[in-house]
Amino acid sequence: MAWMNLTQKETIMSNIVEKEKVVEIYLESMKIVRRGLRNGLTKGDITSEIEKEIRGVVDRED
């Protein structure tokens, strides 16, 4: 969606994402990145952890 302008992007995102989950992913990913940087994890390791986090949160049925 990189090609969209900000309004289009926000409109679409507001329709298909749950804000609580977005914030949850953001906060958990921050922990992952922080821990990854601290422990010298590779870019691939951090990416995999974040990917897992996103799948877990998005696919979770609350």
Binding site: M1, A2, K9, E10, I12, M13, I16, V17, K19, K21, V22, V23, I25, Y26, L27, S29, M30, K31, V33, R34, L37, R38, N39, K43, G44, I46, T47, I50, E51, I54, R55, V57, V58
Partner: protein, 679 residues
């Protein structure tokens, strides 16, 4: 972070020394004072050496071993261990960090009697105390990470402040300032987080989800569906066509069966029809043969020459008139009876003679005459029996003379007779068959042909149906199944892609949040830092005439008065630097209050401020104001001061001072020692 104590062993001016630092909230200041070159700066360097193994300051004189020991008391082969140990607290954990370096002394080979050391790399050890007080050794490979968590290396120049060199923005690189702020406020982590969520960031989250997408070519999918529809229609046509053919086949076979039953029921008629046709054909052939025999017979007469030539002409004309004559002629050799025939000529002879062979008189007009005239109607015009007899006689004679033509005449005559006889037989038989078949108009042969054709057509169509049902329809069904499978795969890929798009929407949303928060933090940091630096600067300077403007990109501050950039004096620069460090400490302590929404990265940090001779260039009033303000900003303040500055500041600082140490030496040693002041 709070520093609890430092313990030095054989380190430079220090033999074995330990001092404790104040950690209380209200009395947060520890003072170390002394004359010049007594070891105040060395003490601050000892912190850096212990925490970071920082030896930049010792490069010109890397032998850290205490001079007293080295100069007089090191025996040969003696090993001297230099160490600095710090106890501190951070986020509820206690830490003991100790760095030590071994120096092995050997007697110089040049015979001067002196000893020189070989130094080994320094080692650093860390023990981490749990909140329950249980010590846990930190693995050597993790010590750097732990220290980076406690006080990042690139902040050391700000929190271990070298006042004598007054370095903050004059000496240090601009990027160092930027790094310091970014590190304190975790902007680097926020930016790194955004990189993981940003589009087109190779090998990261966005890229990862994009790379998992599969082709969902709608055109291809439509093409599959179009082909499925076409094949389905074709199969429907095949089935429909087969149904039609099956009906045709049934009809054809039924008709063939009817014909076959008809044929069977008329088997005798078929024989007669066949016989009829055979005999008609034979009759035609025999007639041709007969005519051939006759022609040859006549030719034989002609070739015999003489009187026979005339006979031939006569015979020919007669033979064509009456076929019986041919029969009779054929019997010439075996039956002479026929030669006695009467004729019109013979009746005319009797009338001329006037007497019938019965003895009655023949007078023109009498009954006998009339009878004879009437008889003429039933007689041949000429009496050529005699001629025939003569011909036969010639024939016999010439045969005896081995006349080849006579032999031929005989042979042709016999064949002629046979053929004439056969013609009669065939004609009779054909007439009989015709009579028998009278009223039957069917053609069994045609029926047979028609039945065979119907059977053949039915079989051909049955083969078409069979091929359609066994090959074409199943083949199409197989293709349809294959195409459906492909289409379903595309459809599944589409669903998977939809899921990935959903993840990507979250990735975008997270990037959005992270970007907004980063920008919010940056703005908040710049505003907060500029305000705090100005507030503190104005408080220390005692005037708000000079405005310190902060560059939000590199966090450098530049002085302005009345909108014009000015140059600060050395003392003002010192106060500006103190204000800047105070601003940094404020940022660290108030992360959760700066730049909008808070998160894990906004947990406040509490850094100590260790200042080496911070007031060197300040006036009494400046020192007073600095001593009034600085304790407000930090939780722990450790200051080394020249004795003269100590005297100027003690009055102001006294309410905050918990511990104060005087650094002294005695006359017998170059060693420095801490002596706690009585406050």
């Amino acid at each position: 972070m709070k520093i609890k104590s430092i313990e030095l062993k054989n380190f430079r001016q220090f033999g074995e020394q330990r001092i404790d630092f104040s950690g209380s909230e209200d009395k947060k200041v520890t003072i170390i004072h002394g004359k010049t070159h007594i070891g105040k700066t060395t003490l601050v360097k000892a912190f850096l050496w212990c925490l970071y193994k920082d030896d930049d300051s010792f490069k010109t004189d890397p032998i850290l071993v205490n001079k007293d020991i080295e100069d007089g008391y090191v025996p040969a082969n003696k090993t001297i261990v230099v160490s600095v140990a710090i106890d501190l607290e951070h986020n509820g954990f206690g830490y003991s960090i100790k760095t030590e370096q071994t120096f092995q002394y050997y007697k110089n080979e040049n015979g001067d009697g002196a000893f020189s050391p070989i130094m080994k790399d320094p080692n650093r050890y860390m023990m981490k105390m749990t909140p329950d007080g249980d010590p846990e050794p930190v693995p050597p490979e993790n010590v750097d990470k732990e220290i980076e968590d406690i006080l990042p290396r690139n902040l050391k120049n700000y929190f271990f402040y070298d006042g004598e060199n007054n370095k903050i923005d004059d000496v240090a690189e601009k990027s160092s300032l930027q790094d310091a702020v970014r590190n304190i406020m975790n902007l680097n982590i926020r930016e790194e987080l955004i990189r993981y969520f940003a589009p087109n960031s190779s090998g990261r989250v966005y890229d990862r989800f994009e790379s998992l997408k599969q082709s969902t070519d709608q055109e291809q999918s439509d093409s599959y569906q179009s082909e499925i529809d076409r094949l389905t229609k074709e199969n429907e046509n095949q089935v429909s066509n087969n149904d039609g053919l099956k009906k045709d086949i049934e009809t054809l076979r039924s008709e063939a069966k009817t014909l076959e039953e008809q044929i069977e029921a008329n088997a005798d008629a078929e024989k007669l029809q066949k016989q009829y046709l055979d005999e008609v054909r034979e009759l035609d052939e025999t007639k041709v043969f007969r005519d051939g025999c006759f022609e040859k017979l006549i030719e034989s007469f002609d070739s015999a020459g003489g009187a026979r030539s005339g006979l031939a002409g006569l015979f020919q004309s007669l033979a064509y008139k009456d076929s019986n004559l041919l029969t009779e002629f054929a019997d010439i050799k075996t039956n002479s009876r026929a030669y006695e025939h009467q004729s019109e000529d013979s009746v005319d002879e009797i009338i001329k003679k006037g007497e019938c062979i019965c003895g009655a008189k023949v007078i023109e007009g009498n009954e006998c005459y009339k009878h004879l005239i009437a008889a003429k109607d039933y007689l041949f015009p000429r009496d050529f029996s005699a001629s025939l007899n003569a011909f036969n006689k010639v024939l016999v004679e010439e045969k005896d003379a081995s006349d080849a033509s006579a032999s031929n005449i005989e042979r042709f005559a016999i064949d002629l007779k046979k053929s004439v006889k056969r013609i009669d037989e065939l004609s009779d038989s054909i007439a009989g068959i015709s009579k028998t078949l009278q009223g039957f108009h069917g053609d069994v042969g045609a029926w047979k042909k028609e039945a065979h054709e119907k059977r053949e057509t039915a079989d051909t169509e049955a083969a078409r149906v069979s091929y359609s049902e066994s090959t074409i329809i199943p083949g199409n069904e197989s293709k349809i199944s294959d195409l459906k499978s492909k289409k379903e795969k595309l459809s599944a890929a589409s669903e998977k892609n939809n899921k990935l798009d959903q993840y990507l929407a979250y990735v975008n949303a997270v990037e959005d949040i992270a970007t907004k928060r980063l920008e919010s933090k940056k703005t908040g940091i710049a505003q907060a830092l500029e305000k705090q630096v100005n507030d503190l600067f104005h408080a220390i300077v005692g005037s708000s005439k000079t405005e310190l403007r902060l560059n939000p990109k590199n966090y450098n501050v530049e002085p302005y008065q009345s909108g014009k950039k000015i140059t600060l004096s050395t003392g003002q620069k010192t106060m500006k630097n103190l204000a800047f460090v105070g601003g940094l400490i404020y940022l660290a302590k108030n992360k959760d209050k700066i730049g909008g929404d808070n998160d894990e990265l906004d947990a406040p940090d509490d850094y100590p401020l260790v200042m080496d001779a911070p007031f060197s260039n300040l006036s009494k009033d400046d020192i007073h104001r600095a001593c009034t303000e600085l304790p407000k900003y930090c939780s722990q303040l450790i200051i080394t001061l020249l004795d003269k500055d100590f005297d100027l500041s003690i009055g102001t600082l006294k309410p905050y001072i918990n511990k104060s140490y005087s650094l002294t030496t005695d006359d017998t040693s170059t060693n420095s020692a801490f002596e706690e002041d009585r406050l």
